[in-house]
Amino acid sequence: MTDASINPAVPKRHGSLMSADARTAKRNAAEKRFQMYGMAAIGAGLFFLVVLIGAILSSGIGAFQQTFITVPVYLDEAKLDKKGNRDPAEMAKVSTFGYNPLIQKAVLAAVEEAGIETPLKKSKNMKALLSASAAAQVRDVVLANPDMVGQTVEFRMLASSRVDGYLKGRVQREDVARDKNIDAEHLDLTDALREAGIVSKGFNAGFIFGADASESRPEQAGLGVSMLGSFFMMIVVLVLSLPIGVAASIYLEEFAPQNRWTDLIEVNIANLAAVPSIVFGILGLAVFIQFAHLPQSAPLVGGLVLTLMTLPTIIISTRASLKAVPPSIRDAALGIGASKMQATFHHVLPLAMPGILTGTIIGLAQALGETAPLLLIGMVGYIATNVPDGIAAGFLSPNSAMPAQIYEWAKRADPAYYERAWGGIIILLVFLLTMNLIAIILRRRFERRW
């Protein structure tokens, strides 16, 4: 033992506590610097997030509003039901070409009644204001209610995408000189009709619930049917990947012996998680469509491909959450004579459940936003035109999916589709954020501590 520590003759090794020595100051400066880097990184991330959300909202929010023309249409019996017996089968012979003149006349009549001065004196001139879907809309209503023929009924019809674009600021007066679809007189008329309340903007339910429309009718295109396509795909993914993924993980984690084979499997699962999704797409094309002859463009095939893609994610997250259950719980169960399976299913699995569900939801969210594999199995294009009739058709009839529909819209030439692509992204993001939120809530609520 030594008493050197209390010997005053020994020189002091440390300076005053009141001022930092050079080394401490340097250390503190380094720490400050590191914190600054961290904050700068977070700041940059937040900035990009704000820019991204701002860009999406400013470009896409317009898709949720649409311009409508509301006019009373006289449903002329002489044109629509020549025999006058109100037989829908007979009336169905009149195509939309028979309805167009009636609607155009009705718009012109409304223009005249409102006392609007315009050089466009012919009913034909009204065509540019109306969506090509207007005639079909009126026809559908009339065929469903044949008694309407001969009466004057008020219809709220879609305006053409140019009129819509003009009211939303997408179509400028400078541009119309080069536009074959609309001219300055029509824009003047649109302004006047808007003041008269005949042309108005309203909430666009058709965009959320409707089907895709052809290239010339962007005002009619909606995401609803491809949303159903996504829904059916997600059902396939959930039903297949959750049980397969969880069973595989439980076996690998709890039962499989640790040897070269399981190591190999483990490495390959990790590799699969990193395989580009387009590879799964071409695999799906080769195996499910060309070999197994499943229908093209069907959500069933899309779901199968996405299942392949989601499985590694689910297996990895399930194994991680099984690993996180302390071994003492397994020991406890085994120690009182539970079999391995009882220990796993009674004790380990319930504790791992929140993690498994979170992983599954994240995997599903990933699958929901996946586009590339769908390109290869034919789920992109002008497909999502009709609501599938029935559940079997939902799985087997050609459909698109939300992200594929967005891609399809972004590809189309008409700038009106550009707005709809962004609007679709908003809907997709709402779905993804909701799923992630559910994952977080599940984790918070069911997480147990030990």
Binding site: I329, D331, A332, L334, G335, I336, G337, R449
Partner: protein
């Protein structure tokens, strides 16, 4: 250092042998963890395994109910018999063995379920109760024998993980005895407990001796002296000495035993 252990005059009758181990070798991969151990565990007796860390006493304890089976690289050789039956025989299902040879672990490990469900789990999976009333009875009996009934009887539905460390360990003991084992293995049951909880558990062990054969691994030599009738001293995977506790602590035959209990090696 430590007070001279108080040896109560326990009559160590020649009990029947519950577990007999002969020439037991345990390997972890290439490591030879247990070398040629012969031990007889008597019925209605507390047997203590002592020895420095890593000497193999816990490993040997876990071979007695085949808990080592869960470790892939672990290999056991030799002959271990429970009531004359070889527990490593191919026909033996470790699940049945563990129902007979219960285990309490070093760290209290109640299931994250209610106190009631913790204790009821064993009887449920082994089908010991025909109905709810019988199960209630078994749970109450186990908790009473685990000396924790009075503390938890009003909150049987509360989570077992919400109890204090000592209570959790007694709950684990109650859980282990609810399945009516014949042998109870305890792997350092008091290492995570404070002195008061330790005293309670030790008292409990002494009571359990009436019905069970208890094997306890401990680092505390005082504890071994207090609760056990037989003591085995392990060192570097060898069983150095095995005998009456009083004799091991007062008059050890092997110099290594003496060094250990007097604190020179460890």
């Amino acid at each position: 250092m430590y007070d001279a252990p108080l040896f109560t005059e326990r009559d160590v009758t020649a009990n029947t042998i519950k577990i007999g181990a002969r020439g037991v070798q345990v390997f972890y991969g290439d490591t030879h963890a247990i070398r040629d151990v012969d031990v007889d565990i008597e019925d209605k007796t507390v047997t203590a395994f002592i020895g420095p860390s890593g000497c193999g006493k816990s490993t040997f304890l876990r071979t007695l109910n085949r808990m080592n089976d869960t470790i892939d690289i672990c290999r056991v050789e030799g002959d271990i018999r429970l009531d004359g039956e070889d527990i490593y025989d191919k026909r033996v299902d470790p699940v049945q063995l563990r129902a007979k040879v219960g285990m309490v672990f070093q760290k209290p490990n109640p299931f994250p379920k209610s106190i009631y469900d913790n204790v009821a789990y064993g009887p449920r999976i082994h089908g010991l109760a025909k109905n709810k009333a019988e199960l209630d009875e078994i749970v109450e009996k186990a908790l009473r024998r685990g000396a924790i009934w009075d503390e938890v009887k009003d909150r049987l539905t509360a989570p077992g993980t919400g109890l204090s460390g000592g209570q959790q360990q007694r709950l684990c003991i109650a859980r282990a005895i609810a399945t009516e084992p014949e042998v109870l293995l305890m792997d350092e049951p008091c290492s995570a407990l404070d002195p008061i909880a330790t005293a309670q558990v030790e008292e409990l062990i002494d009571e359990l001796r009436q019905n069970y054969s208890v094997v306890i691994v401990t680092h505390s030599m005082q504890q071994a002296a207090r609760v056990s009738q037989k003591t085995a001293f392990f060192h570097l995977g060898n069983l150095v000495e095995f005998g009456e506790t009083a004799q091991i602590f007062t008059n050890p035959e092997d110099p290594r035993t003496e060094s250990y209990i007097t604190g020179r090696i460890g």
